[in-house]
């Protein structure tokens, strides 16, 4: 199939993006972000899962939770460029919300098939808060690293073990859990209130999200909870992986652009030695470098999105590139955004820290730049 020149980002897609810019611009304004998650700086305060619940209801009404769900499963079936654009806007406001977790989970579930999959997608479309629990004990990045063990028991399955680094797990009503049995990896829908499941919030640096550890102690699930049968799970996850990488990369592109614009603004207004900071090239040139890096990352994100929809055989290659570039971009832009703000940039009071922490978190999520490049080389050179 030919790749669309515009990455599939036409008028309809732009309309969704622009409405997201408007909605999140309002509900995820920097003042609201400060109020929501910037309250108590105490590093040892117990972790919380904070988001604007009424705004979430509206997001569901706007249909964003149905966006990535194929029409045949009751969704809107928008393309990957739209999903990327939405994630870019979320990142651009460091917007705390169950939305990214919902999109990530959707992108995995939609690669499965059958009745249970359709049922779950329907619930997600209607606003059920979900999260992806596919990472094992050691936090390995390989997508099939789950360490939860699955045993069959009559018609039901029993899950035991740990799932770690579950993004926005504190907000979820249901988890998509990857578990291992002799036959291979399967995917299971586990309600947050399932008996034997313990959800513990991690104490994390980035407060624009939450992260959880799941402990499953003999959680018994009916057959209807099986989203991907053992042996199918790995394939489903691998198929979905380029989309997961693309979403996280898009989030970083958005947050990095915020860092670029905010740092540029500061360089125009703050004066030292009788000049605005941007007059000095030790300030100006790194800011330009932020822009050069962001633009490559952004182009690769949409190239990946376009490949996922139109040329799946290239999807992993482009998504690895996008995540590699975006991870390094996020690290670089974070670094310069704090440094070039000087003392104020080092404070809790300055908004820069929200984006710094979100980007540093996403840099490592599903693998950092070096990891993505090693995977990319497997594709390029074998």
């Amino acid at each position: 199939m030919a790749q669309p020149k515009d990455f599939g980002f036409g008028e309809d897609e732009k309309m969704v993006r622009d409405s997201a810019r408007k909605f999140i611009g309002e509900h995820g304004s920097i003042e609201k972000l400060r109020k929501l998650v910037g309250g108590d700086p105490d590093p040892e305060k117990s972790p919380e899962s904070l988001y604007d619940a009424p705004a979430w209801e509206q997001i569901v009404e706007l249909g964003w939770t149905a966006l990535a769900i194929p029409e045949e499963a009751g969704g809107v079936g928008m393309n990957m460029a739209t999903v990327a654009a939405l994630a870019e806007v979320v990142g651009g406001h460091a917007f705390p919300s169950p939305l990214i977790a919902s999109l990530l989970t959707t992108l995995v579930v939609r690669e499965a098939s059958g009745e249970n999959r359709n049922e779950l997608l329907g619930e997600i479309a209607e606003g059920k808060r979900v999260a992806l629990a596919v990472t094992g004990n050691e936090g390995a990045w390989d997508i099939d690293s789950a360490t939860i063990e699955v045993a069959a028991s009559g018609g039901s399955v029993v899950l035991s073990g740990f799932s770690r680094y579950v993004q926005d797990g504190g907000k979820a009503e249901l988890f998509l859990v990857a578990g291992r049995s002799a036959a291979g990896l399967g995917l299971y829908a586990v309600p947050a209130d399932a008996k034997g499941l313990k959800v513990t919030l991690d104490q994390i640096v980035d407060r624009t999200r939450d992260q959880a550890t799941l402990e499953l102690d003999g959680v018994e699930l009916p057959a209807s909870a099986v989203i991907a049968a053992p042996a199918d799970g790995t394939q489903v996850l691998e198929k979905a992986l380029p989309a997961l990488l693309t979403v996280v990369a898009a989030d970083m592109v958005g947050a990095s652009e915020w860092q670029l614009q905010t740092t540029t603004e500061y360089a125009k207004t703050r004066e030292q030695f009788n000049h605005p900071l941007g007059f000095f090239q030790a300030v100006k040139h790194p800011i330009v470098n932020m822009m050069l890096e962001i633009d490559k990352a952004k182009s690769l994100v949409y190239a990946a999105a376009s490949a996922i929809d139109n040329k799946p055989e290239n999807a992993e290659r482009f998504a690895r590139m996008a995540k590699a570039q975006a991870s390094d971009t996020a690290a670089f832009c974070s670094d310069r955004s704090v440094q070039l703000h000087g003392g104020i940039g080092f404070t809790w009071e300055c908004d820069v820290h929200f984006f710094f922490k979100r980007n540093k978190h996403n840099q490592f999520l599903f693998g950092d730049g070096a990891y993505q490049r090693s995977k990319l080389m497997k594709i390029l050179a074998g």
Partner: protein, 406 residues
Amino acid sequence: MSQAAKKDTPEQAEYRAYCRKWIEENRPEEPDFRLPLQAIEVMDEGVKEYLQTWQKKAYDGGLIGVDYPTEYGGGGKSGMQTIANQELAAGDVPYFINVIGLGMCAPTIFHHASEELKRRFIPQILSGEMIWCQGFSEPGAGSDLASCNTSVVKKGDKWIVNGHKVWTSLAHYAGWMIALVRTSNHDKYKGLSFFVLPVQDTKGVTIRPLIKITGETGFNEVIFEDLEVPDSYRLDDVGKGWTVAMTTLTHERGAGTLVGPNTGMSARGATRTQRLLELAKKCRRNGKPAIDDPFIRDRIALVAVWEEGLAQNQRRAKVPGLTDDPMRIPLQGKVSFTELAQLAATVALEIEGQASSLYIADPMAPDSGTWPLTFLNSYGNTIAAGTSEVQRNILGERVLGMAKSK
């Protein structure tokens, strides 16, 4: 069918087919000598003649100057040069030697010279029969071009030229130069004027080659001592030199109204990443295949990501919904592409390891020693035509709106 070919009008499609056929039938024989990487390194009479013959042939074939009006020796078919360029790039043919003339002098003359000069000079530039050079830089005026100081003083109805131009690419073969000169010391910018100057075997003009870091020549210093020229060699008004120079520089950056014929490196089709992968498969690093070395793998992947990122930038630049500022990507082109070329060459040397010490004349050199040459040469492109630092000033000021640096 290529992406570009798909949206051709019938007229464009017809011309494209013509170009393709012409190139197939007229592609020059592989030379039995090494072609330099770029036209601005040509220093051998035989190479020069080979390239000049090729340019003349392509001009006669209608692949050069297509966009120019017929009265100036052009094809009179506006918007077609791009098509010829795409086919030339895909056609694995040598570059054209008159690169400065085609890319900068002809457009400047077209926009600012008298009718008489246009009729006289543009056809010779297009055909390559007369090689042209650009006399902008001076020992005291590089990045700060407007501080140039070659003096041109009125004497009767003549002008007398005295001064010193440097880094003048192709001056050793050039018959003529476009020159930014000073006619007044009262104002930095308004004191500048613009002339075409005869430079070959001319009394009052001395041309001396300067040797590049690669050991090649290709650029020169040009010294003017009481060169006398008529007023008819002036472009635009006295004091308008800076405006004219802006036309030249806009075309140099590839953003002008007239598309220059394809004068870059002869395109081999392979991406930089592919060439590095091939290189890494045949080179050994510390006794093992370079392609298995994790450090080398990371470096090649970095080039791959960067190269694809820039290619996708070009695609995104045409999608208004995904570019909030339309100038942002185009203005990045010069710095991004020249620095990518430099990175790729840097990585090639890392792949070759000890063998990167072997230069183009060494029989054992991997890829015939082109990588050390490419690496050395890459600095020419991050320096010439607005250094990377100057490009970053431009981006910081024009795109991001930061205060102008001194």
